[in-house]
Symmetry: C2
DNA sequence: CTTCTTTGACTACAAATGTAATCATAATTT
DNA sequence: AAATTATGATTACATTTGTAGTCAAAGAAG
């Protein structure tokens, strides 16, 4: 078994919950609820529901401490992010992914270190990068493909 | 009014439909259905439903041609991709977005041109890139933040 | 003209999701 | 001990999504 099974499907709202638990490393419901009530217009029961679903999905683990639970992430944040992003991109036309990345890189705040790492990785890819990546939106090669 | 309103929320299954219409520029239901039946285990009625939902959402436009419809994309593919990707990333911890992009860049097939463009844009960002991007998972500055 | 087929319209239905109320029990406070 | 509060468990409910069946009208085929 991998230590970090990134199998669970985490919805948008659930993702908000995971973010605070990931950041805190572990937390009881009181903490999670009070933090999230500040960020959203969510009622406590809503957050409880989300926590419950995450536990059922295996994204959060519980340790009973007296009458309460301490929740801990069962999946790695970075791994979950990587997987979600890759899944999202793979669902889009391969031919346009590069441009999408360019737009995203333009709009996001990235640290100097991240920018440098990205450049390094890209430069390493350059030599073997194909001249073009074809559209993969149609079955096999149904003549028609995305325009260039 | 912007020509390309990327407001509609397109689900995963619907995205598959959009991809073929985007690629073909326009298509009648027969064409869409036969192409998608090859790529998925979808029955014709399923695809009809998806097309109908996309029309209702405003993602596809219709032109009546005799008894049939010709469907055309009402939103731009690249713009939709950019927006979806940005939305996905913005829902994640700002501190880890850079790393996620690195992983994605490593795993994706990118054309030489895309790689070059990415490098160019990144190099342009380098001078003004901040030393670090802080975690934004907790309200304001609730002392705790993601580890470095 | 009658029958088969194509195509769009309408209906169906379970699972996931967003959002929350209620309830019971354990803990705290008076 | 009684009243209050906190916490997890259970239930609720509309919407979205995935997946598909049914039906009627319009054409095509015989």
């Amino acid at each position: 078994m991998a230590t970090t099974e990134v199998t669970a499907t985490i919805s948008d709202a659930e993702w908000r919950v995971m973010r605070v638990v990931w950041t805190l490393k572990q937390a009881d419901s009181r903490t999670i609820i009070s933090l999230l009530e500040k960020q959203h217009d969510w009622k406590a029961p809503t957050i409880k529901t989300l926590i419950g679903r995450l536990v059922k999905k295996g994204a959060l683990g519980t340790t009973k401490q007296g009458r309460q639970y301490i929740y801990t992430p069962q999946i790695n944040e970075q791994a979950a992010m990587d997987a979600a992003l890759l899944t999202e991109l793979e669902q889009m036309c391969a031919m346009h992914r590069g441009t999408a990345l360019v737009h995203v890189v333009d709009q996001l705040d990235l640290s100097r270190g991240d920018v440098e790492t990205l450049i390094a990785h890209l430069e390493q890819k350059l030599p073997t990068a194909p001249a073009s990546v074809p559209c993969d939106c149609l079955p096999d090669d149904c003549e028609g493909s995305c325009d260039a």
